[in-house]
């Protein structure tokens, strides 16, 4: 890693010569890679989606999988002198057939030794490990706790970032303010084609304080969110219900449907975390809440975990306990049910499962809101072995108690992470 600094004199360019005297540019290349293999232990314990498809657990299914969580990345940083630098990070992931993507591409300028302004594309620092999510070498677990770290693909943004690092009475204070926009394509098992998601106005503040072995961190972010679910929801939910109620000439109001669609909905994100790391052992805990208003998606969405490990020479045994809880948009559900024709109360439910047709349709609508709910306890036991100065081997047993689907999926995974 450190030996890869290349001092390159870009002095030949006629353009450079015409603008400024010949300059030496410090170019630095770094990289990281993770190769992971894993398998679910009992495929009958995998949760199913609305369409009955078995969903993977932590990226694994019942077939031994060598590819889905693999990562290979290269970073280039050019120090242009005068406190200006340009950085790009290109990541190729097994899950997307090693289609290389620019996760980071930004220009940074040190306004003062304490204040850095960056413009471009970077990771959104929602969580303690967000910034180095793909750098397996930088943390002990195989994957950062999924119940907390799952953010639906909205992990990078294009925008402006201001970082302020300063000393406050022996403590190191780090604050980050970020504003940007992210667009992403989401691939969901129940949808045949990827759909578009947009976070057009993201504002984010993080603050951390570190003293020796103790670090505390807090974050607040807000944005609006749009995900193109409208067509799917119309054809699978609203159109069939309205068609079945054709004799009443019934249509949900646009306002009620808006409570289901994910269209310019307000989103707020809060989180706190701490790290205790005196050396021989460490404890990390994080708790986050995402509030996504006025849609069928879960609100709030809460994730928390505690992870602890012992450092015994080159070995780091560790345990991570996770919990996820969520609730649904009750206001939206009540509004939809409130619009159903009252006469349905006195019509018999054809399926015989409910007291009347009104109850049947209410349950159908409730099913829609329930589909995104997530309640899970998870336990992970693992071992990291630093077998080489630049490489670590990890093995982890992961198990979860998925309360929404009433299944207990488990998996075994191993990984090798390197940096260079």
């Amino acid at each position: 890693m450190i030996n890869n600094v290349v001092r390159a004199g870009f002095a030949c360019s006629a353009i450079a010569l015409s603008i400024s005297p010949a300059q030496a540019v410090d170019l630095r290349f770094d990289g990281f890679a993770t190769f992971e293999v894993g398998q679910v232990l009992d495929d009958k314990e995998l949760p199913k989606d609305l369409m009955g498809n078995r969903l993977p657990f932590r990226g694994f299914d019942d077939q031994i999988n060598f590819q889905s969580n693999n990562v290979f990345a290269l970073q280039a940083r050019a120090d242009l002198g005068g406190d200006l630098s340009a950085t790009t990070q290109i990541i190729a992931k097994g899950a997307t057939d090693y289609d290389a993507k620019f996760t980071w591409a930004y220009i940074s300028y040190d306004l003062t030794p304490e204040l850095t302004l960056s413009v471009g594309r970077f990771r959104i620092p929602y969580f303690i490990y967000s910034d180095t999510l793909d750098v397996g070498y930088s943390y002990h677990f195989i994957q950062p706790p999924v119940n907390t770290y799952e953010i639906g693909g909205f992990d990078a943004t294009n925008g402006v970032k201001l970082e302020w690092q300063t000393d406050v009475g022996g403590w190191t204070s780090r604050a980050t303010a970020l504003t940007g926009r992210s667009d992403t394509e989401l691939t969901l098992p129940m949808l045949s084609a990827p759909i578009k998601g947009k976070v057009p106005r993201l504002g984010l503040l993080t603050w951390s304080m570190n003293h020796d072995w103790f670090t505390a961190r807090a974050i607040y972010a807000h944005s609006s969110l749009s995900i193109d679910f409208k067509e799917f929801l119309d054809s699978n939910v609203f159109n069939p219900i309205e068609a079945s109620l054709a004799p009443f000439d019934f249509h949900f109001s646009p306002g009620a449907k808006k409570q289901v669609y994910v269209q310019e909905d307000k989103a707020k994100f809060y989180g706190v975390g701490f790290i205790i790391d005196p050396g021989p052992f460490f404890v990390i805990a994080e708790a986050t809440t995402l509030n996504l208003y006025d849609s069928f998606m879960r609100n709030p969405n809460m994730g928390q975990y505690v992870s602890a490990g012992l450092r015994i020479g080159k070995f780091t045994p560790y345990i991570t306990i996770e919990n996820a809880e969520s609730d649904f948009n009750k206001k939206g559900y009540q509004r939809l049910v409130g619009e159903l024709p009252g006469a349905l109360h006195s019509i018999q439910d054809q399926t015989g499962a409910f007291a009347n047709a009104h109850d049947y349709l209410s349950a159908t609508l409730r099913g829609l809101f329930n589909a995104d709910l997530h309640e899970e306890d998870a336990y992970n036991l693992g071992l990291r072995y630093d077998f080489h100065p630049s490489a670590a081997f990890k093995i982890e047993y992961m198990m979860a108690n998925d309360h929404m689907h009433n299944v207990k999926p488990s998996a075994i995974a191993a990984a090798v992470s390197v940096i260079f």
Partner: protein, 140 residues
């Protein structure tokens, strides 16, 4: 005879371990740098928690090759981490743009030379390598 020999071997091994543990490390800066630099400042500099000397002025921190004796001593005595932890820590800074690691020098002599010729430089060497061309801010 055999027992005397084994006693000697044990004693000499103990002496080697003791002398290794006692290898003293000097943190050095340029003669023109009159900043009062504490152990905590050195930690902050090598963990990228500060970019300027306490008395002001930019820092050019110098490192030594991984596995080299002075570096192992420096990392364990002053940074209070082992080299693998140090590497994981730096990987978090490098791949998030929060820091560029100190420049790696090949030997104590190279560090002394670089510090002597750069007013912004700070480095660490075995005390035996210190010359009058650099200022020692601390011995550990």
């Amino acid at each position: 005879m055999k027992s005397i020999f084994s006693k000697f071997a044990v004693a000499s091994a103990a002496w080697m371990i003791a002398s290794f543990a006692n290898a003293e490390i000097a943190v050095i800066v340029n003669l023109a740098n009159q900043s009062n630099i504490t152990t905590e400042d050195v930690q902050k500099i090598y963990l990228a928690k500060t970019k300027t000397f306490p008395g002001g002025g930019k820092i050019v921190a110098l490192d030594q090759t991984e596995g080299a004796a002075p570096r192992m001593e420096f990392v364990s005595k002053i940074i209070k981490k082992d080299e693998a932890q140090m590497k994981a820590y730096w990987s978090r800074l490098i791949f998030t743009g929060k820091g560029v690691p100190p420049k790696v020098m090949a030997s104590d002599a190279e560090v002394v030379e670089a510090v002597a010729s750069n007013t912004s430089a700070i480095g660490f060497v075995d005390v035996g390598a210190v010359t009058d061309k650099v200022r020692v801010v601390g011995k550990f």
